[in-house]
């Protein structure tokens, strides 16, 4: 069997490795040293790590010393939520109901979750009420942009309220770089999570960027790398790729208008061609690249499989490693009916997405969404 050409529209899951990151990583392969070694080879490796640290800090509008490299977004979230709570003596932690599982998993209390509106946006007034009745200090974690719908949270406003109440704010910003301008200062948060592979870097590298003066208790003990915040020999090659990808962020941001226009075109065609199609979080401020769409009557899984067989990569809301699908907790929190949640797919565009890709997607998707594909039934 020859397979159709691949059309990759799952950039919120991961992005293709950028040529810049690939080149930086190839160069790093040639450096044999351990960054902690005092000899020349060690110094060369250290330089790669520190160059990358500067680039990542610049991306987040932070200082190099604020950047703690981790093995990805999940670890950075865990370090923030467990490490800040312990080191800063937080007496409670809260997060929104639409956070990534790697944030939600660190909540210890069923009362920890902040309600969202129909667009998946945190109810700020309700948060304000909650803060009045909470033991202080509290740690609040709210994502910058939702991975399933692209909806943005009022992070700066939340940070202001939480700080007024004497608390700390963490922001999972993994979906934001290259799609949205932001900085540690503009958000006003204490810590934020980044992940290299969401903007052209390699998988398995991330960072927790934290405001100077904050402390975290490390997740595990060891050689004391990363200023004793994250032990273990640095992933030099991955970090080099991360740094190179961070430097591409300004270019990526310059493609945002093009991506948003492709997205708007796709959404318009869907709404026009598929009766009953629902674009989730459409009226919210959201990322330019993310489409979360339900069509009545065709299960998400059926759509994703049919699109895959046609060479188009998209995803369902949340799939576990085996491929089993559960209903999206994000859409559920938004109050979307189960029948619609069960038919939602996520289409996420990237810098390399072309008009031809968008058209090829629509050509496959519309008959599927209309229940006209398959044929044998």
């Amino acid at each position: 069997m020859t397979r159709p050409q691949l059309i990759y529209l799952d950039h919120n899951a991961t992005t293709p490795l950028s040529p810049e990151a690939k080149a930086a990583m190839s160069a790093a392969f040639e450096v044999p040293g351990n960054p902690s070694s005092i000899h020349r080879a060690g110094r060369a490796a250290r330089a790669l790590v520190e160059d990358a640290r500067e680039a990542v800090a610049a991306l987040a509008g932070a200082k190099p010393a604020d950047v703690v490299f981790t093995a990805g977004g999940t670890e950075a979230n865990a370090l923030a939520l467990r490490g800040l709570v312990r080191a800063m003596g937080c007496r409670a932690a809260l997060c929104s109901m639409v956070e990534h599982p790697s944030v939600i998993a660190n909540m210890t209390d069923v009362e920890s979750f902040l309600a969202v509106d129909a667009n998946g946006v945190v109810d700020v007034a309700a948060l304000q009420q909650r803060l009045k009745n909470m033991p202080s200090p509290v740690l609040v974690s709210v994502m910058l942009a939702n991975n399933e719908t692209g909806a943005l949270q009022p992070v700066a406003e939340i940070a202001r309220l939480v700080h007024e109440a004497g608390g700390y704010v963490h922001c999972d910003a993994v979906q934001a770089p290259g799609r949205l301008s932001f900085s540690l200062a503009s958000l006003g948060v204490d810590a934020l999570t980044l992940s290299a592979h969401k903007f052209g870097g390699p998988k398995g590298v991330g960072a927790l960027v934290m405001r100077a003066g904050l402390k975290v208790t490390p997740l595990f003990e060891g050689g004391g790398q990363e200023k004793s915040r994250r032990s273990g020999t640095e992933n030099v090659i991955g970090i080099a790729g991360f740094g190179a990808a961070a430097k591409t962020v300004p270019q990526r941001l310059s493609a945002v208008a093009k991506i948003a226009s492709l997205r708007d075109g796709i959404e318009a065609r869907i709404v026009q061609s598929v009766p009953g199609a629902v674009i989730h979080a459409k009226s919210a401020a959201r990322l330019p690249n993310t489409i979360c769409v339900s069509v009545p009557g065709v299960a998400s899984q059926t759509q994703v499989i049919q699109l895959d067989l046609a060479g188009v990569c998209v995803s369902t809301g949340s799939a576990c490693s085996s491929g089993k699908i559960s209903l999206s907790h994000v859409l559920k929190a938004m109050g979307v009916a189960d029948e619609l949640t069960a038919t939602a797919i996520r289409v996420s565009l990237g810098v390399e997405t072309t008009e031809a890709d968008a058209n090829a997607f629509l050509e496959s998707y519309i008959p599927i969404a209309l229940g006209q594909a398959g044929g044998n039934a």
């Binding site: 069997m1 899984q301 059926t302 499989i305 049919q306 895959d308 067989l309 576990c320 490693s321 085996s322 491929g323 089993k324 699908i325 559960s326 594909a373 398959g374 044929g375 044998n376 039934a377």
Partner: protein, 391 residues
């Protein structure tokens, strides 16, 4: 007109989309492998039926057991797309719950038939059609042979492997869409094909027992779902004597001899009947188990005509998967879906809940579920809408 391909479809192989139900075992892996080698557009589907982690009481796992992993790896090696379909909820409702209900009703169920009937040939067939599949192939050892009036179900060429007993409930419409490429093959042939095709699971042992009871203790699952199945009761001799007490009807099956915990009789005692309304296990001598007539429910007919001829038919019937066929006359029942079976010679251990499958030589003519003798308004366990009322 295009000639028929090896699957009997009038299209070239590479334009024919074949969905293969891949369990992660050798047989379905070989099925996928030979079809891929023939150039079909093969798509692998594996069903997620239960939480394997919960089933073996390990820490909560993200879904998949070893079998799903194996199926994925085989699909990778064959370079075919592969998907895991989540049927946990429907498997729980249509197979596991009904399995438990059946024990409560004093029967001995066959969950594999329920699974074939519901999750596999109803839901998986629909999923295969939904993605444009031209047919669904499985690794079952059974033959689909085109006869004068369309596809017929026949026993496998390898008698030791024949699975036709478990497929009696396959409807004509399902049979039309299904393909069983291994039915004409001997098992060693399949194993050697697995080696030839470099299928990693070539040496994996055949699956045993009931898939959702990996520990082998099905009574745990039944009593968890239906505590009444573990309600103690009396062991009563057919002559009326109370012989002792038992720890729940779930522990007994008609024909059982071992583990009754009662004795003192000249001849060995067997379970003759289970009375769910009184929670009594009725025991007797071997001769007390003999029956030569019984009713069937949920009958599926695959022979000539619309159903069993009014004057009845002669056929060989199998009353257990492991038993050789025996001669019988089958008559239509008084309601649709029912039948009456009269055996030429009485048979011991005609077990309610098991299937009675009709054969004409190698061909499967259909079959039904053996009904409990005392059941008046009997509803077969595979057709109950709700939990059976148990008094």
């Amino acid at each position: 007109m295009t000639t028929l391909n090896t699957l009997g479809i009038a299209k070239p192989a590479n334009k024919t989309r074949v969905v293969v139900a891949m369990s992660g075992g050798v047989d379905s892996s070989v099925t996928a492998g030979i079809l891929a080698r023939e150039g079909y557009d093969v798509v692998g589907f594996t069903m997620q039926l239960y939480d394997h982690g919960a089933a073996v009481k390990s820490a909560k796992s993200c879904c998949a057991g070893q079998d799903i992993y194996d199926a994925k790896r085989v699909a990778d090696a064959l370079n075919i797309p592969h998907y895991v379909l989540d049927y946990e909820a429907t498997f729980q409702k249509d197979v596991i719950e009904k399995f438990a209900d059946s024990y409560v009703a004093g029967e001995t169920p066959i969950p594999c038939v329920l699974c074939n009937q519901t999750v596999k040939f109803r839901d998986l067939v629909k999923a295969a059609r939904d993605i444009g599949g031209d047919c669904l192939a499985t690794g079952h050892y059974v033959q689909r042979i085109i006869g004068a009036h369309g596809p017929e179900l026949h026993r496998a060429v390898d008698p030791a492997r024949d699975q036709s007993y478990f497929l009696f409930a396959t409807t004509r419409a399902q049979l039309d869409y299904l393909r069983f490429p291994l039915g004409g093959m001997m098992k060693p042939e399949a194993r050697s094909l697995a080696k030839q095709l470099n299928i990693a699971v070539a040496d994996k042992p055949d699956s045993q027992d009931i898939c959702f009871v990996p520990t082998g203790r099905y009574t745990d699952i039944v009593t968890k779902l239906r505590p009444e199945a573990a309600q103690p009761g009396e062991i009563v001799h057919v002559d009326g004597r109370v012989m002792g007490l038992h720890k729940g009807v779930v522990n007994y099956t008609v024909g059982q001899r071992r583990g009754l915990g009662v004795g003192g009789e000249a001849d060995p005692l067997y379970v003759v009947r289970i009375d769910p309304t009184t929670a009594r296990v009725i025991v007797g001598a071997k001769a007390d188990m003999l029956r030569d007539a019984f009713k069937l429910t949920g009958v599926n007919w695959l022979g000539a005509g619309e159903g069993i001829a009014p004057e009845g038919i002669r056929a060989n019937v199998k009353l257990r998967s492991t038993q050789p066929p025996i001669a019988a006359t089958i008559l239509p029942g008084d309601v649709p879906g029912a039948a009456n079976v009269v055996l030429d010679e009485p048979e011991a251990a005609v077990t309610p809940g098991q299937a009675c499958v009709f054969y004409d030589g190698e061909r499967v003519l259909g079959g039904g579920w053996i009904a409990r003798e005392d059941a008046k308004a009997f509803v077969p366990h595979n057709m109950r809408k709700e939990k059976a009322a148990v008094t």
